[in-house]
């Protein structure tokens, strides 16, 4: 099956590709759109350009990094903690001369994004956490199994998707130790202490059909973080941006533009003037 990334963006632009150097890593990125930068840090499945990237690239300069150890990059045995990993990604942003930027982290990358925002709050305009893996239940298990089993865990309705990316077993074997090392433990007391004082406007999104991390985990972020908003995306699984891209990008765009004021509706209901 073809990856979603192979479909061209709806605005006709093809994402540009590039590489930056940070902490001895050569880090690939894909980029599309113009305007305020929106940096994306991917999940444990690696960088996949989704329909949500395309939609957000209509309003933002979307830069999706492939974090060290993922994709075709060499195995990453160097990074020991998520805090280190986040520092590396801050330096990757430095290499692109991104002074201030919006930050979007998905699942595994949600924890990276939280650490990055904790370490460099002055750099992050707003934080979007898509199905973040920073707080997980005790019985959490990283999705594994056949492509069909993986699809059932990752998506609420895999049967509705035109194509589902299939993980390369060799890449998966290479990244698994890194993911396990950086994700553990299910509750990170040091990070949660930092989250409690974080002023960054934060939007946490969970799909109501998330079979990887229960959407009920969202309430912990809301309870911990002083400037956090929780949104449940109906009928979406773990990979919200791929499954309900319009719903995802609409609320993300609104939040990034207006922060707390996104609670004030701009929906017009006038039918006939």
């Amino acid at each position: 099956m073809a990856e979603a990334a192979s479909s061209p963006p709806p605005n006709g632009a093809t994402p540009r590709e590039g590489n930056v150097e940070a902490d001895g890593f050569r880090i690939r990125y894909r980029e599309a759109g113009e305007g305020t930068p929106l940096v994306h840090l991917h999940g444990a499945g690696g960088l996949r350009w989704s329909p949500a990237h395309d939609l957000l690239a209509r309003h933002f300069r979307v830069i999706a990094f492939e974090m060290p150890g993922f994709g075709d990059s060499p195995e990453n045995t160097q990074t020991r903690t998520m805090a280190e990993y986040a520092a590396t990604m801050t330096r990757a942003a430095d290499a692109l001369r991104l002074d201030k930027f919006n930050l979007w982290g998905t699942s595994f990358g949600g924890k990276t994004a939280l650490w990055l925002a904790a370490q460099a709050p002055e750099r992050v305009l707003a934080l979007v956490l898509e199905s973040p893996a920073a707080i997980r239940p005790e019985n959490f298990a990283i999705p594994a199994g056949t492509p069909e089993e993986m699809a059932r865990r990752l998506y609420g309705h895999p049967e509705r998707l035109k194509s589902i990316p299939v993980a390369d077993p060799a890449i998966r074997a290479k990244t698994q130790p890194l993911v396990n090392r950086l994700l553990a433990p299910p509750r990170d007391a040091e990070l949660e202490a930092r989250m409690a004082t974080m002023e960054t406007p934060t939007l946490v999104l969970f799909g109501t059909l998330d079979h990887v991390i229960p959407p009920e985990m969202g309430r912990h972020y809301k309870a911990l973080m002083p400037n956090c908003h929780l949104v449940l995306v109906y009928d979406a699984g773990h990979v919200i941006g791929a499954e309900r891209p319009e719903a995802f990008s609409e609320v993300v765009e609104d939040f990034l533009e207006r922060h707390e004021a996104f609670l004030i509706s701009r929906t017009e209901t006038l039918i006939h003037p």
């Binding site: 969202g218 949104v231 449940l232 719903a247 609320v251 609670l263 004030i264 929906t267």
Partner: protein, 360 residues
Amino acid sequence: MKVSFFETGRYPVPADIPREWPVPSGAYDPAVGAKAYQGMVERARFVQKLGFDWISLSEHHYSPRILTPSPPLSAAHLASHVEGIKIALLGPIVPVSNPIRVAEELAMLDTMLPGRFVFGLLRGTTNEYLSYDLNPKEARERTDEGMELILKAWSEPQPFGWQGRYFQYRTVSIWPRPQEQSQRPTYALGVSAEAADFAARHRLGLGVSYGNVELMAKSTGYYRQRCTEYGWEPGPDDIIWRANMILGETDEAADAALERRSAQSQAPFPIGARLRSALIEQDKRNVGGEKRPANVGGILPISFCGGPDRVIKQIKEAREKIGVGVLDLSLADPGGGDTDAMMSKIELFGKTVLPRIREI
């Protein structure tokens, strides 16, 4: 077996009133309406005295056939006048409602009188889509999403936004909240596979309505199968069957009444024929996954008919085949007939049938 009386706010209909739905509201008489609502209270007291477990309510619009467009208001009215008997809201029509408003109003009731109310959520009958301009093609999905949102609003302790397909809220955090689900009987209503799936997934009861034993058994059989797949087993109280009964002093009397009723081809206040056909064409229905045409304005089937002994036998069969533990009964068609005659049937049921079906 528990027994519920289906209360419809019986409005005595004058002979000269227009018969097509929607019925002109200019024909409404406020004094008669007030009396109808007082009648609700009197019947609730009466059935409670006879030993009925619940009194149930529904949502219908724009006709005198069933005079209860707002289940929460009907329920509050009854609860404020009658003590003891449980009041079942079967129930708010979710796809035409603001789900958050439904969640709040039901939570208010549950807080005012904990344990008095039973809640059912449903898609509604096809003709009701005309009441609030609902596109029939969206009804199923709006129902599923609305029910999901209501349950989430009841259970989520933190403020949350909802990014749905048909509903969008940037922030939700209802006060008051209802009791825990175990203390608050809640049902998804409908014979469809979708209603059964939803109920099974959320560990809710299922309320089915009308149709014969075989059809209802198909629906509840599917529900029980899905419950097993979700790792739980529903009990008798988890299945409600709303059904019509013709009860006579003898089998012969009941059969004669059934014959008289069978001469009718339509329910009171039907929708015009062409509109009816257009609606049926646009609405998709199923029983436990098997396609069925929508019933729009047709008479509803009689599921029980006979003298006390025969009816008890039929109830036993329903218990065995459908798994039903709560019978929600109509003993006369709403929108017509003689209320006094209906009261005597209720009394007959209460005295000759009800005490003998407790152990079923």
